[in-house]
């Protein structure tokens, strides 16, 4: 009767079967989003953080190392604490704090671990360790933070911190993740890539409760963490400590360079801070305090401060004029003190005597000859042409732009050229000539240099005509193998035959204008300077001293700036000579006059507003 209904029924059954097959095809074959979701489900990437590279000084002394710290992790679901008060006492937190942290952890996940307390020090952990068993659901996760063997080199080493959202955005390699620690300043930042090493990733298969169930595909895609490279810095840690000690209570900086290599032996800036403050749990609090300090301890004066060079610049003037051939080394020029005020009397001066006596009017004439070579009948045009030549020659000594030392933030200084003065003295105001700008001849006026550039000048003269880019790192050490970094020589002029006259002048200058720098048995070539303090009549000018020693076989070139210390032959020369002696002799030989005591007593910072001492 209803025979045909069997076909309807069978058709429906077959139809449903086909619908399933089509839907399953769409789900399993056509749509691959489920593959991704499946992997996200089960694969738990475990990041193995590599050991950050260490830093050593030139004598293999450890400067920066890693110290283990602990994060207290919590798995909220497993938490069982018999006595909350006991827990809070042990970890030194309040009960409200405890509840707030628990809630935060629970909000993240009840089964996945998250950090309950961060950066528990090794010492604190030793006290806690034995009690941890009492608190179910908590465990300690070891990490490392940076530690500094001595409270030195704060601005040179820099500090590490959590990566900022901005930097994260800029990271095109996609290496970093939110929460990663990176070098923020100094060497930590500059050599971040070498120091950080390579993160290891292991992929673990986890079940629905986040419990590991073995490695993913037998670890085929796992990578081992590669520890960061160790930095071999050029710093002489003992000398650095001595320099920072001498700078205590002053505002200023010391840069010492090994002339033959460009290696920076000392780079100190005062006031500074203890780098250990910017690591560990108190980072935030300490950073705020240091940042708001009115003496700006985060300001690295050695590379960031810019001053007019003062009389030390006379050496550059002489070298350029000699190179240009407008004077010769033994040419005695009769000068009359009519252009500028002068400590040196009127009379006949050659290069050596000019530097020895720091004769302002002699260098007035030296620079005039460089700038006004009679290339044009117009005194203006002639100056403009000459200034262009002069500015380029000055730049050849590394002035006017950053030298490119291996930490960030180096100031360029300023070398005014023709264009600069055209802007400064627009045509409608009448043009400018040598008579407008002659204060440059003695290193005053618009010129600006950094202490590093001055130290580099000392090294250039010590090398008789070339410098090697000053640097703080000479190579990387990996598994005991050292990979040195190559640096090339920069030549400053046409020849080195002019240098003996300058060096002779500098040797004599120390005996004459910087008697405090004289060290028995170690001939020093040096030049004092006074950088005009922009604020007139307020406080003393800045004291500058540039030197290298031994004069005939230079091992160290140095620049010392002491702010508001007045004349360069005083504090700065004393500091420089002490560092030179310490470096070359290894100790300070006792003399009838205690230079060290003299320097340590000079506390120029005292009395300045807002300074803690």
């Amino acid at each position: 009767m209803f025979e045909n209904r069997r076909y309807i029924i069978q058709a429906i059954f077959i139809g449903v079967g086909l619908v399933f097959l089509v839907k399953l095809f769409a789900l399993q074959v056509a749509d691959d989003t489920y593959h991704i979701k499946a992997e996200r489900n089960i694969i738990h990437r475990i990041i193995e953080y590599p050991f950050r590279g260490l830093m050593y000084d030139r004598n293999d002394e450890l400067i920066v190392y890693n110290e283990p710290i602990y994060d207290l992790m919590v798995v909220p679901r497993d938490v069982y604490i018999a006595d909350t008060a006991d827990f809070c006492n042990l970890f030194k937190i309040t009960e409200e704090d405890f509840l707030a942290r628990m809630q935060k952890a629970r909000k993240y996940s009840s089964v996945k671990p998250s950090a309950f307390l961060q950066k528990i020090s090794h010492e604190e952990f030793a006290l806690i360790q034995d009690h941890l068993y009492k608190f179910n659901g908590f465990y300690a996760n070891p990490r490392t933070i940076r530690k500094y063997s001595q409270p030195l080199l704060a601005n040179e080493i820099g500090y590490t911190g959590e990566i900022s959202p901005k930097e994260l955005e800029r990271d095109t390699t996609g290496y970093y993740k939110s929460g990663d620690y990176v070098g923020v300043t100094g060497l930590e930042k500059y050599y971040e890539e070498q120091l950080r090493g390579v993160r290891g990733v292991s992929r673990k298969v986890v079940n629905v409760n986040g419990i590991e169930k073995g490695s993913f595909k037998n670890g085929e895609y796992d990578t081992a963490a590669v520890p960061g490279k160790n930095l071999i810095t050029t710093i002489d840690l003992k000398l650095q400590a001595y320099a920072e000690k001498l700078l205590a209570g002053k505002r200023g900086s010391v840069v010492a360079i090994e002339p033959s290599t460009g290696e920076v032996l000392v780079m100190a800036s005062a006031p500074s801070y203890d780098p250990n403050l910017l690591t560990g749990r108190e980072f935030g609090k300490n950073f705020k305090k240091i940042e708001s300090d009115t003496t700006s301890p985060l300001f690295n004066r050695a590379i960031q401060a810019q001053y007019p060079p003062g009389s030390i610049f006379k050496t550059v003037q002489a070298l350029i004029a000699l190179d240009e051939g407008v004077i010769s080394a033994d040419e005695a020029i009769m000068v009359y003190n009519i252009h500028m005020g002068d400590h040196a009397p009127s009379g006949k001066y050659d290069v050596t005597r000019g530097i020895e006596n720091s004769s302002n009017n002699y260098f007035y004439e030296v620079m005039r000859r460089t700038v006004n070579q009679g290339l044009s009948s117009s005194i203006f045009t002639d100056t403009h042409l000459g200034m262009e030549k002069w500015a380029r020659a000055v730049e050849g000594f590394g002035f006017g732009s950053p030298l490119g030392i291996d930490i960030k933030g180096e100031a360029p200084g300023l070398v005014p050229d023709t264009e600069f003065y055209h802007k400064m003295y627009p045509k409608e105001k009448g043009s400018w000539a040598y008579s407008t700008i002659y204060s440059l001849s003695i290193g005053q006026g618009e010129l600006l240099v950094t202490p590093l550039q001055v130290a580099n000048l000392a090294a250039t003269i010590a090398n008789r005509g070339y410098y090697i880019k000053p640097h703080l790192v000479s190579g990387f050490k990996e598994n005991g193998v050292v990979t040195p970094i190559e640096y090339e020589k920069h030549y400053t002029g046409k020849g080195d035959e002019y240098y003996p006259a300058i060096i002779e002048g500098m040797k004599l200058a120390v005996e004459k204008t910087a008697k405090r720098a004289v060290i028995k048995d170690i001939p020093i070539a040096g030049k004092t300077g006074t950088a005009e303090n922009g604020v007139k009549n307020e406080s003393l000018d800045h004291s500058v001293f540039m030197a290298f020693a031994p004069a005939d076989d230079p091992k160290i070139a140095i620049a010392v700036y002491t702010e508001n210390a007045g004349w360069g032959g005083g504090a700065s020369a004393s500091i420089a000579s002490l560092i030179i002696e310490k470096y070359i002799r290894g100790e300070i030989k006792k003399t009838w006059w205690n230079r060290e005591e003299y320097v340590l007593k000079k506390l120029y910072l005292k009395g300045l507003e807002g300074v803690e001492n």
Partner: protein, 424 residues
């Protein structure tokens, strides 16, 4: 020897082969669902579901043997008795039963658990078959239809009280053998309409639904304008539909449990469901199945099903294990096996000379089909999650034995199909 030879006699070997294929595949997949790659266990491990399932499979041979030995006529003769016993057990389970997952559906005697609803399906099918095959019953008559609904309604009502909606839906499958025997199509159409309206109530805001109903009624009324007598049924249908919509809304919001509502919403309005909570089962099942790809991840290589992401892994969601490890090819094999089994059962039903046997055969086909299709549909998000196992495949003795008994009774009856004539 002769006796043993006649024991299997003219049994339908194709069904027996498909049956054992499904049972063995099921067993392997149960092992794959519970296998822990770290622990390196054996499929025979008695601590695992796979080990226990092997015992269930072995024990299933006992009822098969008993059925083959028993007289094939007892099922028709004792159908009312079986039905009566099952109704009593269903009533009893409401009083003495143990509550599992919010439903009082199980008797528990020691370690042994027994779900009367599993066997009631079979008993109901037998009584229906006996009733339909008795002389003078015409399913085109309303009085006969009423009696069919009565036989179906009694167990459905009792199971509703447990409540176990999954089993209720399976009972609805028995409409199909009735349809085959001449039940009016209007019941199927009505059922379909109710289904469509139910989905529409979920998907479309009530206001729009009412506007739609109004518009359709108006058009129907205009079309029937010249025959005013027909306006009354049109109006009645419109009122009926409106009531149904209101009732559905009421049921969804007031009667059924929140979790059940969420399971329904997970299918039709997934945006309302949190995949981390109520939507978890379905989402994880889809991830497992979807990540299987064309050829699958390989036996014991599945990751989603192995690590507990899919709940009820070896029972109701066993299909996701198969689909993950054997991909679309595995799905194809499984769907083909089931459709082949069901079509073969229909073929057997159609070759019966006795009406009882035919109706019973169609009932077996329909129950298997409903179990299979609803189970697969719920794992791939075409049907709300209800606790319905995949026949022969899912872990569990109760389910395996009841399906085995149901199928082998049909095979036993089929073996004696030529003897039937003698009775009439």
């Amino acid at each position: 020897m002769r006796k043993e030879g006649s024991l299997f006699g003219s049994i339908d070997w194709l069904i027996v082969i498909i049956y054992f294929t499904l049972v063995v595949l099921g067993w392997f997949n149960i092992f794959a669902s519970v296998y822990d790659p770290v622990a390196n266990q054996s499929i025979l491990d008695m601590n695992l579901n796979s080990g226990r399932q092997l015992v269930f499979i072995g024990v299933a041979l006992v009822p098969i043997l008993v059925i083959l030995l028993l007289d094939f006529r007892i099922y028709e003769s004792f159908a009312p008795l079986f039905y009566g016993i099952m109704i009593l057990l269903l009533a009893g389970v409401l009083v003495f039963g143990r509550e599992v997952n919010g439903a009082k559906a199980w008797f528990e005697i020691g370690a042994f658990r027994f779900q009367p609803a599993e066997f009631t399906k079979m008993a109901t099918a037998m009584l229906l078959a006996r009733y339909v095959s008795s002389t003078g019953v015409k399913l085109t008559d309303f009085s006969s239809q009423l009696k069919v609904f009565l036989i179906l309604g009694l167990p459905i009502g009792l199971i509703m009280l447990q409540p176990d909606f999954g089993s209720v839906i399976i009972f609805a499958s028995l409409i199909i053998p009735m349809y085959r025997e001449g039940f009016p199509s209007i019941y199927l159409i009505l059922g379909l309409t109710i289904g469509v309206l139910f989905v529409l109530t979920l998907l479309v805001p009530q206001n729009y639904l009412f506007i739609g109903i109004g518009a359709v009624t108006l058009i129907a009324a205009i079309m029937q304008w010249k025959k005013p007598k027909r306006l009354i049924p049109v109006a009645l249908i419109a009122i009926g539909i409106t009531c149904f919509v209101l009732a559905t809304d009421f049921i969804l919001n007031e009667v059924i449990y929140e979790y059940q509502k969420k399971r329904v919403e997970a299918i039709f309005r997934p945006e309302l469901v949190d995949p981390q909570a109520e939507g978890w089962n379905l989402e994880q099942s889809k991830i497992a199945i979807g990540s299987g790809g064309f050829a699958g991840k390989g036996f014991l290589e599945g990751t989603q099903t192995k690590f507990g992401y899919v709940p009820e892994q070896s029972t109701d969601f066993i299909f996701s294990t198969l689909a993950e490890e054997h991909g679309w090819i595995g799905s194809l094999v499984l769907v083909t096996l089931f459709i082949a089994l069901i079509l073969r059962v229909i073929f057997i039903a159609e070759r019966q000379k006795s009406k009882f046997a035919r109706v019973y055969g169609y009932s077996v086909a329909s129950i298997l089909f409903f179990h299979f299709s609803i189970n697969i549909a719920m794992t791939i998000g075409l049907f709300p999650v209800v606790g319905i196992p995949l026949p022969f495949f899912s872990y569990g003795g109760s389910s395996l034995w009841s399906f085995t008994i149901m199928l082998f009774i049909l095979l036993k009856i089929d073996m004696h199909r030529s003897q039937v004539l003698m009775r009439f």
